[in-house]
Amino acid sequence: MEALIPYIIILAKVIGLTFVLTLPIIAYSVYAERRFAAIIQDRVGPNRTGIPLTIFGCKKDISFFGLLQPLADGLKFILKEDFVPSHVNKFFFWLAPALTMVPALVTLSVVPFGSELFGEKLVIADVSVGPLLVFAIASLSVYGITFAGWASNNKYSFFGGVRSCAQMISYEIALGLSVIPVLMHFGDLNLSNIVADQAANGWLILPLWGEGLTTERMLLWIPMIISFFIFTISIFAETNRMPFDLPECETELVGGYHTEYSSMKFALFFLGEYAAMIVGSALIVTLFLGGWSVGFGADAWVVSTFGDWAGLIHLGVFLVKLVAFILFFILIRWTVPRFRYDQLMKLGWVVFFEVALINILITAVIMAAPPMLERGETGAVAALIIGVVVFSALMFYIAKSLDRMLSSDKSTTVAGADTNS
């Protein structure tokens, strides 16, 4: 029995954090999306689904602002006919929805949801390669969409799959490069340690307490903000969310990669998209906004006051930040129009790639300068700064010429269509 306890704890964490906590958040972010969209478009949205007391003979239903809508949606998806068209590749057609949903949920395993609850860290796997593991598993989710597009044996589905594949590969580069300055600053790849460091020394983009008030950190704030912007926008592109949802662009591709899907298989794609959004938000919150930390130096007070229960407070703080970010995702979806495909690729390759590279160099110089100045190597620091400036100018020039090249042959290239020939 004694030997089983660690396994029971791990199982409890997996079930609790993934299935009890995150799956309802996914379900309710669909509801939030619909209500928020309705508010923005001056509609009401789904506000009636509640407990149907009238079928038991009562006078009125209880509606709870439509809070039971996700339940009704789920029921609808399960009860609909699960239609598999005859022209599809059956094996991959069945595999694809699972391949989009599962990687998104697996990446949750390294996200620290809270500090410690009775000495147990609120993270499923406290590994030393956190962000890398997230990128690795998230890069597998591209197969789900690609296989869905290919197995559907349908031109529009295939375009959707190919577009998504190209988009995710392009933005993975921006994502990976933009996170390097962050990891350079922390010098650590363990997400729990990163959050603990932020709790003590100021959130990455809000360094207002602890060691965050030094000149070095104030200077580092600039590259960190740049990183934050690139990372956030790349997450939008990685999760195929609205300004970048070209793979399922209705006006061009019918439904994109999930045109042929129905019933629960379609729902899995939908849930996979929302799960990816939640993981993306969780990663942004963890890396840049202090994860579970309350902030402003209040974490030590929380731990001393609540003792073993501090983990729950931190879990609550984390969820508040997460939900705020999900609402931000939804707000962007319903306010920013969709990009054109060549604009999307240009943004990834011509703007973000170069800016992220320059950003890494700036961070390196800021981090290397103080000890060098202490040793009196002023000339070397000046040389480094000049090097960064020259490199940036060169990058800017290359980006400009690429931009001119791309816009000059735009007349012959059509997004999506050129992959057909």
Partner: protein
């Protein structure tokens, strides 16, 4: 005695490998290869090599195989499915893996047992002073490698970084330049030459395709 997870992932890896050579459909073969890579990554993680295992998924399963699948799907290799295998190919397929098994023999003979926390503490004690030299100069704490060895965890990322950027710094730079050269070479080779090498029909085709994109508008999802 390896853990049961070792057997699960070893079987997964081998099944993926068998799929690669035995399935007729090229996309299925590529899928088998991905499965095999994921299995290898899991085995590496089981050996406490988190960094290498993660890179295996990130680079091979996540990036290189995506390109493979991309190209297989675009080429639509229908005739591959009716291809029969020659006996000479099978013979080569048996012979080459046998050579690899021979290589494996000395490797397997030199394998020690699992390391324990005590081993890590001993490793910390025998750590050369140079590793924490920079921190001592700054007059602060121990290096990351030292602290995590003291805590009884293997700092694989830091150790790899340490040896890559100190001992093997020059080879690393050379490899970087080599990759850059190959990238530039690729771009130079595949670049269309200016001055009419592209046939005019291409442009016309692209223009017709552009017109055919007038797909009727459908209502948004929600």
């Amino acid at each position: 005695m390896p853990s049961p997870l070792f057997y699960i992932f070893a079987i997964l890896m081998l099944a993926g490998g068998v799929c690669v050579v035995s399935l007729k459909n090229p996309v299925s073969s590529a899928m088998g290869m991905i499965l095999s890579f994921v299995g290898i990554a899991a085995l590496l993680i089981g050996l406490n090599a988190y960094f290498v295992g993660t890179l295996q998924v990130l680079v091979y399963a996540g990036a290189i195989m995506v390109l493979f699948i991309f190209i297989i799907m675009l080429l639509d290799l229908k005739k591959e499915e009716n291809k029969t295998t020659k006996y000479s190919t099978i013979a080569a397929g048996v012979f080459v893996p046998l050579l690899f098994v021979l290589i494996m023999v000395p490797v397997l003979n030199s394998v020690d047992k699992d390391f324990t926390k005590l081993d890590l503490k001993a490793a910390e004690a025998s750590l050369p002073d140079t590793i924490s030299k920079y921190d001592e100069e700054a007059g602060t704490k121990d290096s990351k490698i030292r602290t995590s060895l003291k805590a009884g965890t293997l700092p694989d990322v830091n150790l790899i970084g340490q040896s890559l950027f100190t001992e093997y710094n020059f080879p690393l730079q050379v490899v970087g330049v080599l990759l850059l050269v190959s990238t530039v070479g690729c771009v130079a080779l595949s670049k269309k030459l200016h001055g009419g090498s592209a046939p005019a029909t291409d442009t016309r085709m692209a223009k017709t395709l552009a017109k055919s994109e007038d797909i009727p508008k459908v209502l948004p999802r929600d």
